[in-house]
Every structure is written in C-alpha cells, then in structure tokens.
Subunit: 268 residues, 2 copies
C-alpha cells in the first residue's frame, strides 16, 4: 500500500517536465480518484514554484480523459511569479495525449486563525460513533481501493443510502484520516475535498458522478488529527450536479473548501 | 455607452485566434471588471466550440496582470470535444503578454426546472425598496463606470457600510439588471456573479479586493427580468478572502453560482 507521498511523487526531467507513476491504490472503481490526480499536478507545481511559495493555495482542474494507473508526464508552466503568489498551469499527459489541465496558485500558508469566519465547523458525532466506509462495501457494485488509504467514518445521518433510506438533504459528512497515520497537508487535503460517495447518494441517485471540473482553495495548514469534511450538493439539474466541500481540522479551523461540477444520471 | 454584446464582441482572425476591444465602461475604478473579462473569453470560446454546445457551462479564470481597456487578442484551444461537453482553454493576450487564462466548458443549457434543489433563493425587498448603486458613490474613493451599464439595487441590509455601520455578516445581496434593458444570458451572468462592492465591505474592510481566481457554473438559461444575486464571504484570513455568489432569475430559479479567491488587506 503506497502512502500519499510515494503515490504522488514526481521526478524532474528538467525544463519543468516531471515523470509520475499513477498508483491504482488511489482509485474509485477502475478510475483514479480526482483529488489524488490534482495532488500529483500540485506536487509538480510545488517543485516548479519559487521556494518562498511552498504551498498550493488554489487549484482548478478540468478532467478530459481518465488517466490510467501507469506512467504519466506532468508539464508545468509558471504564468506569473508575483510577490505574494505564483500562478501556474499544469498538464497531465499520458501516451502523448492531454488527460487533465489545471490552473494553480502557490503561496505561503500558516496555521494562524482567521481574521473573520462566517461558517461553523460541521457538527459530527465522535469518530468512534461514525461508520467506517469499507473498500468493498456490500452492494456498492464496485470496489473503492481509496478506502484502504483513506479512513473515512461517516456521520450515521449520511449513510441512510446503504439501507435504501437516504436523508434527501444531499449531504455526506464525516471524519477522514490518512490510513498510514501521516498528517494532512495542503496536497493530501485535495483528496479529502473530493469525498466518496458523491452527495447524490444521499438523494437516492446511485452510480458514477464523474467530475468535469474541480476547484479547491487551501486556506491554512492543518493541525494534527483527523479532518471533518462536509460535502453538499446545491442542485441537480440537466445531468449536472454541483458539490461544495469544506474541510476543518480537529480544532475546528477551516482548512480548505472546494466546489465541483460533475455529471450525474438523473432518474426520469 | 456600449452594450454588453458590443463590449464583449470578438472578431475571428482564423485558427481559433480572436481580436477584442476591451471597453473601459466595464470597469471598477481604473480596472476592467473580472466578470466582464471572463465574458470576453467566454464569447471567443463559444465561437470555437461546436454548434451543439452553444452555451458556456463552466469557467475558471486566473488573473495574472490586469488588462488595459484597449485591443486584446484571445487564443482558444479545444482540449476535448465530447458528446455532452466541449472543454477549452482560452487566453487573453495584450502587447504579446498573457494577462488571463481560463478553463472553460461549453454545453447546452435549457430553462428546465431542477430535478432537486437544496438552496432557497435569497429573500430581497422589492426592487423599488432597494438602494440603487450610483457610478460615483459619495465616499467610495473611485468611480465605478460598471454601475452605468449594470443597474444594481442592494438590499438595505447590505448597505450599512455606506454609513459606517456594516452588518458584519459578510453578505452583499441585491437585484441586478442590464441597464440597456437587454435580457441576461449565460455570458452576461458572469458579470452579475462578480458583484461590486466585495463582501468585505459588509465586514468593515474597505478597498480593493482583486480577484486571483474565479470559478463560475452556469446551470440554466435565465428567464426575463432582473437577477437576484447574493454574495457571501466564508472566511477572511492571511490576506485572502473567498466569496461565494449565487444568482437566481425573477422566477427564483438558480441560474448560476460562483466562487472566487481574492486578495484583501486586513486591519492589523
């Protein structure tokens, strides 16, 4: 089982080109996980950015063709190197074809508290009272190898879908840890922000919800311990769903937020 | 006063290159408005996309160096032409330098109702009871030419900042119309999603809040009449603010949503 650092490692080939080996462990069904793929691009961007901007602060990735769990190339270009922020483009290439493209900003994060916050952390029962998501959930229809490397414990109010009784609030909330015990960082948080299952499960809509575009902002360095993550849909319409995710650390400080547009097959 | 169609017009130069004339009317202070600039990129993307995907459905723009109100070039590349979506990259170039880059998806929108919606439209007093934002607001410190082409009437609860008494909820909400009476469309909605003033004004933080990155999803075609727009900050921390915007049409149907990361100078 490859840990996050190894699974997202990239090796410089010079001239802002990197070589990666995409790891099938970080998959949902037969598809590599979107947050994991963004983290691979972010890893390369971090190496291409100047030392004074060591942290990924924002990323938007557009998903073109699903990458295979195999060797891939990452091409990075610095679009602007500013005083407070470096802005970059990163591309994931496999077999000569562009599979993903991302716009990224790098800066310097701290653990400082917010000057103002308008959002309370999601309320969750203690971790021990939440429901561990297994990599081979009965009735899921496909294995989720990701759940061997991410320990996710869902709020019991989010798991009604497993017994055919979803809450119909469009919310999936729970605790997340990296299974190898390592601490969260600005790149691994990208995995946490793209939770499995999608919010559509809590609306009684099963099946794939492939991400078309995902945008994440990392707001500060996480403290130790698990993350609390809340994923909520705003609207399902015309075969599209948006999902908004927030992640707080164990101390209840907002670490990151994300929004994604996904394809969804709605009942007719 | 150039209307929106004229102000965002682009002329093909062949090979997915376009010529634009950026219009100073669509400015805040001396800077061209972010939503307007995204609309210019979206206009070019719409011409480069296949006919079956006539509408912009998502866009993320990263703002590098502020463009001048002058001639500019737009370069578009189709990254993937799928059955339900075309994904593109668009770049705004001035004097040979990249000023903005965007990842865009095009599809086909309808006026159909949502299959499921989890968000109620923002409640606003009738338009006549809201406060028209003038292009030269007393005490603003700079003119906002945009307010001559966008008629924005703010909820009285959002305008406490004008008398030194902001609500400190981090919310700016109001009605918006195109001043020339034309109907909203998926491109002009990009202007509505990036309202002036920023949400920081309602927290007692004045001054510029330049956008670093803005992501918008257009969910359906707007019906006639004004839009209701709600802009809310989630958190201000480390000289960064996020703002989340939602726009509903007069019938209360969600038309579009956006999130942006902006720079902000916080009181020490």
């Amino acid at each position: 089982m490859a840990n996050f650092l190894t699974a997202t490692a990239v090796e410089s080939r010079g001239d802002a080109r990197f070589e990666a080996e995409l790891d099938p462990q970080w998959s949902v069904g037969s598809r590599l996980h979107g947050g994991y793929l963004l983290a691979v691009l972010g890893r390369a961007a971090g190496l291409a950015a100047p030392d004074e901007h060591p942290h990924l602060t924002s990323i938007t990735g557009t998903f073109l063709t699903p990458p295979e769990p195999a060797q891939a190339q990452v091409a990075v270009e610095v679009l602007r190197a500013g005083r407070g922020v470096t802005q970059l483009r990163a591309q994931l290439i496999q077999q000569g074809a562009l599979r993903m493209e991302a716009l990224i900003s790098q800066g310097r994060l701290t653990e400082d508290d917010a000057w103002w916050s308008g959002l309370e952390p999601v309320k969750l029962p203690p971790e021990a009272d939440c429901v561990l998501v297994p990599p081979a959930a009965p009735g899921a229809g496909f294995p989720v190898p990701l759940m061997d490397v991410i320990e996710q414990r869902l709020d019991p109010s989010s798991v009604g879908f497993t017994v055919g009784d979803p809450s119909r609030r469009g919310v999936i909330a729970g605790w997340q840890r990296l299974a190898d015990g390592s601490a969260w960082d600005p790149l691994s948080v990208l995995v946490a922000l793209d939770p499995v299952p999608p919010a559509s499960y809590d609306l009684g809509v099963r099946g794939w919800a492939p991400t078309l575009s995902l945008t994440a902002y990392i707001r500060r360095l996480p403290g130790p311990g698990p993350l609390r993550v809340r994923l909520a849909a705003t609207e399902l319409a015309g075969d599209r769903m948006d999902e908004v995710a927030h992640a707080w650390d164990a101390d209840g400080r907002l670490i990151a937020q994300a929004t994604q547009l996904a394809a969804v097959r709605l009942p007719t």
